[in-house]
């Protein structure tokens, strides 16, 4: 057993103890050489930090950046394949609280593979996650830079939105059948509010369901639809909604299809999503400035 530990982690003196986002103490190597990412957003962050050479395995649907697709797969983030992970001989696994089965993390640790868990819940904690992963992978400088950029872009949006006179009512549809929107405890809600809109589905339920009637009663002025669906499906959905021309969003032709990955993956691309949203919600602010 000790021999195994030696081979996997490296000389014990090169290790440090860190605290992950769930408050767990994790012993990691100072210089991790073989990292496995247990969620698509973590993969993105590692690439954004320029540390993809350390990355030996990713989960299915790790599709950004496109280069990640060619990496070995270890299952989906909700159904991880323990055998494949172990076969990659990782010295660090980075996991996400929301989705990764706890039992897998426990098994990995019982096999002496350190598991660092993150739990990004909003923009702030996403930035924190970037910093922490940067720290783990010895890319602190790059991490700082990334986070600074993110912060300044967010501030810019905030100041822009401050000038807006009015908060349009936004219905953000993430599920087509049944109709599902987003509650207060989601990234999307935060982004909508930051972008100067009013999330009609806000409330304690994270993914509330609506009947078509309920949506009509809410009378959204902007309807944003995201899903992993293709454009053809969007046209059908748009046609469905168009049967109610009295809805402001239909009347004013403010119904949009957007790529969900900008809005529900806790990565730096959330800021891209934010900027997208501002353009959709307050186009008037962009006529004046650039």
């Amino acid at each position: 057993m000790t021999a195994f530990l030696f081979i996997v982690i490296g000389a014990p003196s090169d290790a440090r103890i860190v605290t992950d986002q769930l408050g767990r103490q994790v012993t990691v190597s100072d210089k991790p050489r073989r990292v496995v990412s247990l969620a698509p957003n973590i993969t993105e962050i590692i690439y954004a930090l320029g540390q993809e050479n350390l990355l030996k395995g990713v989960t299915l649907y790790s599709d950004f950046p496109p280069a990640a697709v060619s990496l070995p797969k270890v299952g989906s983030y909700v159904q991880l394949n323990l055998e494949k992970i172990v076969a990659l001989k990782p010295d660090l696994c980075i996991a996400i609280k929301d989705g990764n089965p706890r039992v897998v993390a426990r098994r990995l640790e019982s096999l002496n593979i350190p598991v660092y868990a993150v739990d990004p819940k909003n923009l702030e904690t996403v930035m924190q996650t970037v910093l922490e992963i940067g720290n783990l992978l010895n890319a602190n400088q790059r991490a700082d830079f990334l986070v600074q950029r993110m912060r300044s872009r967010v501030l810019k949006v905030k100041s822009l939105v401050a000038k807006a006179a009015y908060r349009p009512r936004v219905f953000f549809q993430i599920g087509i059948c049944p109709i599902v929107s987003v509650g207060t405890d989601t990234f999307i809600h935060e982004l909508i509010e930051l972008a100067g809109g009013k999330n009609l589905a806000q409330g304690p339920l994270a993914y509330p369901r609506f009947s078509r009637e309920q949506v009509l009663v809410l009378s959204p002025e902007i309807l944003i639809i995201t899903s992993m669906a293709r454009a053809a499906v969007f046209e059908k959905v748009k046609a469905e909604w168009s049967r109610w021309p009295n809805m402001p969003a239909i009347r004013d032709r403010r119904i949009f299809l957007e790529d969900s990955n900008f809005f529900d993956r806790p990565t730096p691309r959330l800021v891209d999503g934010l900027e997208l949203l501002v353009k959709l919600i307050h186009p008037e602010l962009f006529d004046e400035t650039q």
Binding site: G75, E83, V86, G99, R107
Partner: protein, 336 residues
Amino acid sequence: MKPKTPLLLKRLSVISLSLLLVLLIAMFLGISMGSTTSGIKVVFQSLFKAKESDPMLDTIIWQIRFPRVLLATLVGAALSLGGLVFQALLRNPLAEPYILGISGGSAIGAIIGILIGFSKFPGVSLTAFAGSIAILLLILVMSSGQTILKKDALLLSGVMVNAFCAAVIMFLVSMTQDSRLHNIIFWLMGDLSMVDIGHVGILAAILCPCFILIFWFSNSMNLLLMGKEMAQTMGVNIKTVTVILLVATSFMVSATVSYCGLVGFVGLVVPHLLRLVFGPDHRVLVPACVLGGGAYLVFCDILARVLPEQGEMPAGVITAMIGAPLFIFLLKKTRR
């Protein structure tokens, strides 16, 4: 005193030994195959602690695959035996281990456990077990007053309760949000992954006494097939035997299902397969189900792990896809 006749014992030994061999081969294959390539040579090296053995592969073989193969053996044994006993008790060839509401009750219990946020063990397992026992008691109470259709009262109650539970399950599932939904669906399809050797030990400690107890009553099961009245005239204490078998089997199946969800079809097809090959004597069928059922599920689990490109299929899919044609083939062959 003449030695015991070789008639039954000889058959029993021959059949048990051959099935044991099959099981051992299955287990060996089970630990040599998986979603990463290993090969048989590697397993040998690992077994005999050769110097060339790779510790990473050792880990995969012994810490990941071996517990899973053991679990598949136990689960296959328990479910096959459960099907056999219920087919004898209810005198119905369509009986399977989940028939007395065990699937419905345990599923509801498991879903409640998952929704509360328990981890698989011990939380969800306990709620699943509690659910199945509760539903079983309900069915026993429901069918206790029946004098008409005595034989089928239990069966019918079980079928109705399972149907009701299925509706409740669909309702609960439709109300769940994303990630927890995944856990529920895996459980409903039967989940042999993420096995802990300690848990397997606990399950073995629970199941083995049940196997032995059921074997003890195997001759009684033969006599029961004559019908309750006739069996009584042969000296069988119907009430006692029925209750003991019912309780032991339900307990055995509930414990199994609580740990790994609803692995389907094994309990229906394996007893029939073995009966076609080895005949209807339960004294032979009970050990055959334990060994043969275990081997069968290990084989199916190997395929479930190895066939799909990504991820794994639920073992219950393979048991059906293989079991059904195999059974029809054997049926045709023996019809002469």
